[in-house]
Symmetry: C2
Subunit: 306 residues, 2 copies
């Protein structure tokens, strides 16, 4: 297959970047992939496991001469990295990112993109609770969504090329406006993460129930929360700080609803509870039908979990 880009640079080498590398290799989508991570230990690991064709000791060195530079660092670090690589970017190159928040990234990165370089923000909706250079795998994006968030007036050829890359890494691609992206993600990802973190924290705090009991008896419900709450702390701190308004709006609505259900419990209103639970069940069916999850009971964990 023909390359999409001659040279791709991955700045930041965690789960997302390392999965991109293996997906690019799987389909032969780039001539050379360079990589950079701020931590010397991460760069060392990357060299050891063959992650990237060439690991560089600075972001600028990795980005220099690249046709596509993808910023794969926490949202709060995007601006600094863009500032660092701005001066070495090749005319006609594309800069993209994989941040979970888009409005903030656009505001932080855009000022550092020189004339003649295209900035096409992106967000692949895929992940696991693992992080770091060794957590990536080529199949992460298969049949997952990648949202492109091009600014008005973006170069359509640059957008089409990036779409081609993501599709050939296995993803389904759609375009979305930055503010709408941030609201949709606040609902489907950011608020649920904060809620899961909170519940796991409450369990840990409770003196009358020991940690060991919480851990042993976590099969029903709580276990799934702990998976979500095991995600990378730096990444998630940045998400909440940079998608503050949408996240707080959704959490406000969540609290209202939770209070209404608590009242139903307190007053013994079984009908309200039953109706609510019946409605939420239908949403699950929609997700299965949309192919975004497996219908296997308990995620097909069955024997694997033992």
């Amino acid at each position: 297959m023909s390359h999409v880009y001659d040279r791709v640079a991955l700045i930041g080498l965690g789960l997302i970047a390392s999965s991109m590398f293996w997906a690019i290799k799987r389909a032969g989508l780039a001539g050379e992939v360079t990589g950079y991570a701020r931590s010397a230990e991460t760069r060392e690991t990357a060299r050891r496991i063959g992650l990237c064709d060439r690991i560089c000791d600075s972001a600028a060195e990795a980005a220099e001469g690249a046709d596509l530079v993808v910023l794969c660092v926490p949202v709060g670090a995007m601006g600094n990295v863009a500032q660092e690589i701005g001066p070495v970017l090749k005319p006609g190159a594309t800069v993209s990112d994989v941040g979970s928040v888009k409005r903030h990234v656009i505001e932080a990165v855009s000022p550092h993109i020189p004339e003649g370089v295209h900035f096409v923000p992106a967000h692949p909706l895929a992940g696991t609770e693992h992080s770091g250079p060794e957590s990536g795998f080529a199949e992460l994006y298969d049949n997952r969504w990648c949202l492109l968030v091009p600014a008005e007036g973006s170069d359509s050829e640059a957008v089409a090329k990036l779409r081609d890359l993501w599709e050939r890494m296995g993803a389904n691609v759609e375009e979305m406006d930055a503010d709408h992206h941030d609201l949709v993600l606040a609902v489907t990802s950011h608020a649920p993460h904060l809620i899961a973190y909170t519940m796991v924290g409450v369990a840990d705090d409770l003196r009358r129930v020991t940690d060991s009991e919480v851990i042993k008896y976590s099969a029903a419900g709580f276990r799934d929360f702990t998976r979500i709450a095991a995600s990378d702390p730096t990444m998630w701190r940045d998400v909440f700080l940079t998608n503050k308004d949408a996240t707080l709006e959704i959490l406000g609505r969540f609290t209202e609803e939770l209070f209404a259900l608590q009242r139903a419990i307190r007053t013994g209103d079984g009908e309200q509870l039953f109706d609510y639970f019946t409605r939420t069940r239908a949403i699950r069916r929609g997700i299965i039908e949309a192919g975004q999850d497996t219908d296997a009971p308990d995620f097909g964990r069955g024997k694997a979990a033992q």
Copy 2:
């Protein structure tokens, strides 16, 4: 292998009972298993798929002459079923249940247990989001916990026999006091379920984000909530109504913590968020080490989900 009981009766034929039947058959733990479900359609399905050796048309008929009768109906229906079968119970028989709440079940069932019959409440901590007679499978209890909640002065031989049954169905068994059980489960299961139901309901309500967007982009976080929120509405209504105090206590603490984290987001206190998320990550590690979940990324969903 020798039978644990000559005759076992399963009252209610959902996920838990049908999995018990297949687990009993797998290890040859009973001479005959009778079954009863209130719905004629469920009894018909059970007969068609060979669930139970004999399907009866009343709970009393199924329970009559049984050495072990297991109540596998929603918590709110336990008392009525116990009343129905009480008069036909065989002297020396054991009655047990599988309810997710124990104090309420004990209060509802005990008055109907005749002299000379042993009541040993139990709660297997296993399940999936599926329900009904066709959802069961023999491996459901393998390496999962089953909590026995015998009253003080319970017949130790009856308790030991029930423990033997659960262990040979694959479970690890521990004994626990009823009130402590209800508190532990409020933390690990009941509150997380209500929270997941609530978040899924909020997403459904939000007019500016379409259901189809919620469904399509649910990969990160929200998807796991929808799985939890797809659980059986009748069962969960009863759980919340009958474990009211402990659930409301945990939800109260949850709300306090959530408010603290919301304030940290609003004021931009990244350090507090980072510390909190780092602490919750450690709990996840404990669960993996305790063998209650798989360390495979994304539950090993990878290819299965496609």
